[in-house]
């Protein structure tokens, strides 16, 4: 099977290890991975801040970059949700504004083949034990868009539970937003920081060495909050845990 990796702009620039982990993991599972270089950002920062028109070229770019693939896999719950929930809206609005159906068709063509990593593993490849080894205590923070927009449910936990050496501990208030929210983190900095502080406190209370997410933008906020508070807890993306094996500990 051949799939295209949509690495996302945040991962490309700030967390390349996550992208490399996805490649390592998928190849280990016998999947051939392509990286179409024409890809870029999904347009979420623009769209969510109110600049819908600025997101349109990025919708077109996404559709063009991944044309010809049956599966696009991305290690980001919020970027997958952007494509699945908001691309059709952007297309429909453009059509309603009298700009034809070209964008609508581009937007809709992207939707059915875009999978968040854990969906792809569990629903398409039908694996939960990916042969990973990660000898640490881990707590899992389900990011809002993965949880509520994509409905990832227990997929990430099932994948984590099958990792050898890993001890999974419950996170109190797990389903509460960490306070990132894109430009919200800057526009409403005080509230965002208060939410982040509560999240960091809950993470510390678990005694875990590692906090795991499926979205590196939340990890950026959580990790930055933990680091500023001098916490030793290490934030990682789920892909990095799943890529880790006895022979190759990440």
């Amino acid at each position: 099977m051949r799939v295209a990796l949509f690495v996302t702009c945040v991962n490309d620039t700030l967390y390349p290890r996550t992208g490399r982990a996805v490649v390592t993991l998928l190849e280990r599972l016998g999947v051939e991975v392509d990286f179409p270089a024409a890809q870029s950002c999904c347009g979420q920062p623009q769209y969510n801040t109110g600049y819908r028109h600025q997101a349109e070229p990025l919708v077109r770019r996404y559709a063009a970059a991944f044309r010809g693939y049956d599966y696009v896999v991305t290690p980001s719950g919020s970027c997958a949700a952007m494509v699945r929930d908001n691309y059709p809206r952007i297309g429909a609005r453009a059509a309603a504004e009298g700009r034809g159906r070209e964008l609508t068709e581009a937007a809709e063509s992207a939707v059915p083949k875009t999978y968040e990593l854990t969906e792809f593993l569990v629903d398409v490849l039908r694996v939960t034990d990916v042969g990973a080894y990660f000898p640490h205590t881990v707590t899992y923070h389900p990011t809002c868009h993965g949880l509520r927009l994509l409905g990832l449910r227990d997929r990430p936990r099932r994948l984590l539970a099958a990792v050898r050496g890993l001890k999974l501990v419950e996170l109190p208030g797990a389903e509460e937003c960490c306070g990132f929210g894109g430009t919200f983190a800057v526009k409403n900095a005080a509230v965002s920081a208060a939410m982040g502080a509560d999240k960091a406190r809950h993470i510390a209370a678990t005694g875990a060495e590692t906090v795991c997410t499926v979205d590196n933008s939340c990890r950026l906020h959580i990790g930055g909050t933990l680091a500023r508070r001098g916490s030793p807890v290490r934030p990682v993306h789920l892909a990095e845990i799943l890529a880790s094996t006895e022979g190759d500990i990440w």
């Binding site: 623009q46 769209y47 819908r52 894109g182």
Partner: protein, 490 residues
């Protein structure tokens, strides 16, 4: 109304108030768990929710049919209907109606619509005193305070604070608090009961809102927990109800759906303790005179917006407030409106427009976590409307104002942001440029500051910055497997 600081400033002040945060946290977390349990009891909750949304949508689309039917039915039952285009007109109507009775005091049932239009202040300007009779509203009124929650207006107060307010102020408004009042719920409730009973037994005029209006029979419906509302609805000689036009439902069968959705979502009860219905007037029972003031105040303008109109489905259950992480920290006052929390963030800028800094900041008072949408019993996609209203704030565009299509300009103060996001979108659409930027950032690693200047400070004050890796994913791919499928585009 309090000074209208934009949301971020008002919220930052609230975040610093430890007692407020503790009160809110305790109250919202308690009700959250109860709501979830009450909802989980019904196997057909999702169907009920879809039915509620569908009934509201259909009724709203045909308001021009159902409102005249309601008017006919109310009139036939002996009531009188008044139409108010905005807050000023509604207040004038109520003031005139009270004046015509010759009374200078009214008792009030808790009502969002009268708060929205500032009725108490309008009455006070004309020498008429309005007594709030809902326990939480009473606490707010005695404390010269503002409501901070749809259902529990005094949620920001704890028992100790309430005791102090009662002891200090009850005497100014009527029967004083008993000597040596303690802060147990029973003592506080008893003090309120004695204080309010006097009002119920003497008042000649009652003012209320309604949760629903049934078009087929012209019936108003109020659901409540205390029974104080029922006293106000039945004891006075004249009853004036001020109700938003969106509260109409076609039939009693439709009402049945909402009487299931509302209590579970709002107080986590299977059924609310008091459901009062009144239809016009009846000889020898209840008020002799009944007036219904139908309030528009921006509602039909909101209806003209295909995305925003779903906010009019709201049945004011307050479930979205109770799960909102932003409301929990910022408190209700930061929203500067009778409607706080997620629903306030989408309703207020539609009813009032986005012209003031406060109203323009409300659509940004959310991290878009989606918890509000998940619990909303009429499935209002609040995040979708928030993003839609953000677009209105930063790009302007077509809106309907007082029934006329108008083009509004973008709000001021977003020019730098607009330029930055436009530049980012351009760079993202030119991967070559993006790569050059990534490489530059990696090469200048040593120069990265630990704290950002300008608006970025808001990030780095409480969060460390990540290290920029030496090699982007794109470059790693090119270096290790560059031959395959990575034709660089300009």
């Amino acid at each position: 109304m309090p000074p209208r600081a934009a949301f971020p400033r008002a919220a930052a002040a609230a975040v610093g108030d430890a007692r407020l945060r503790a009160n809110l946290r305790h109250a919202t977390h308690t009700i959250r768990a109860k709501r979830a349990a009450a909802v989980a009891e019904l196997p057909d909750w999702e169907l009920l929710r879809a039915a509620g949304a569908a009934i509201k949508d259909r009724t709203l689309r045909h308001l021009d049919h159902y409102l005249p039917r309601l008017e006919e039915a109310v009139t036939a039952a002996g009531g009188r209907v008044h139409w108010a285009a905005d807050a000023a007109e509604a207040n004038r109507i109520v003031v005139d109606l009270v004046r015509a009775t010759g009374e200078t005091e009214v008792v009030k049932v808790k009502s969002m619509a009268t708060q929205e239009i500032g009725l108490n202040a309008a009455l006070a300007r004309e020498g008429i005193t309005a007594y709030e009779t809902d326990l939480a509203e009473l606490i707010v009124q005695l404390g010269d305070d503002l409501p901070s929650h749809i259902l529990v207006p005094a949620i920001h107060r704890n028992r100790g604070e309430i005791r102090d307010i009662f002891a200090r102020r009850m005497g100014d408004w009527g029967r004083p608090a008993p000597e040596g009042l303690g802060d147990t719920p029973a003592e506080l409730a008893e003090a309120a009961r004695l204080h309010l009973r006097e009002k119920f037994l003497t008042a000649k005029v009652g003012v209320s809102g309604a949760n629903f209006m049934v078009a087929e029979t012209g019936t108003m419906v109020v659901v409540e927990s205390e029974g104080n509302g029922r006293m106000c609805l039945t004891l006075p000689e004249t009853l004036i109800s001020v109700v938003g036009v969106e509260k109409v439902v076609p039939t009693w069968r439709d009402l049945e759906v909402f009487l299931q959705l509302l209590p579970r979502s709002s107080t986590a009860e299977r059924m609310n303790p008091y459901t009062s219905t009144w239809t016009g007037t009846t000889d020898g029972d209840g008020p002799h005179v009944f007036h219904l003031v139908l309030l528009d105040n921006g509602r039909t303008d909101a209806l003209a917006d295909t995305v925003g109109r779903q906010a009019l489905r709201c049945i004011r259950c307050s479930a979205c407030l109770n799960v909102c992480p932003v409301y929990e920290r910022a408190g209700g006052h930061a929203y500067g409106s009778a409607y706080p929390g997620p629903i306030g963030a989408i309703l207020t800028p539609q009813l009032r427009g986005t012209g003031t800094p406060l109203d323009a900041s409300l659509p940004y008072a959310s991290s878009l976590c989606g918890a509000c949408y998940e619990v909303c019993p009429v499935a209002i996609d609040i995040p979708e409307v928030l993003v839609h209203l953000r677009e209105r704030v930063v790009q302007g565009g077509q809106v309907t104002l007082r029934g006329t299509r108008t083009v509004i300009k973008p709000a001021r103060g977003h020019a730098a942001e607009r330029a930055a996001l436009r530049a980012a979108a351009w760079a993202f659409d030119h991967p070559g440029v993006l790569r050059a930027g990534q490489r530059l950032a990696a090469r200048t690693l040593r120069l990265h500051p630990r704290r950002l200047p300008g608006p970025g400070r808001a990030w780095s004050d409480s969060r460390a910055l990540p290290e920029v890796p030496a090699e982007s994913f794109r470059d790693w791919w090119l270096r290790t497997r560059g031959e395959r499928d990575s034709h660089e585009q300009p």
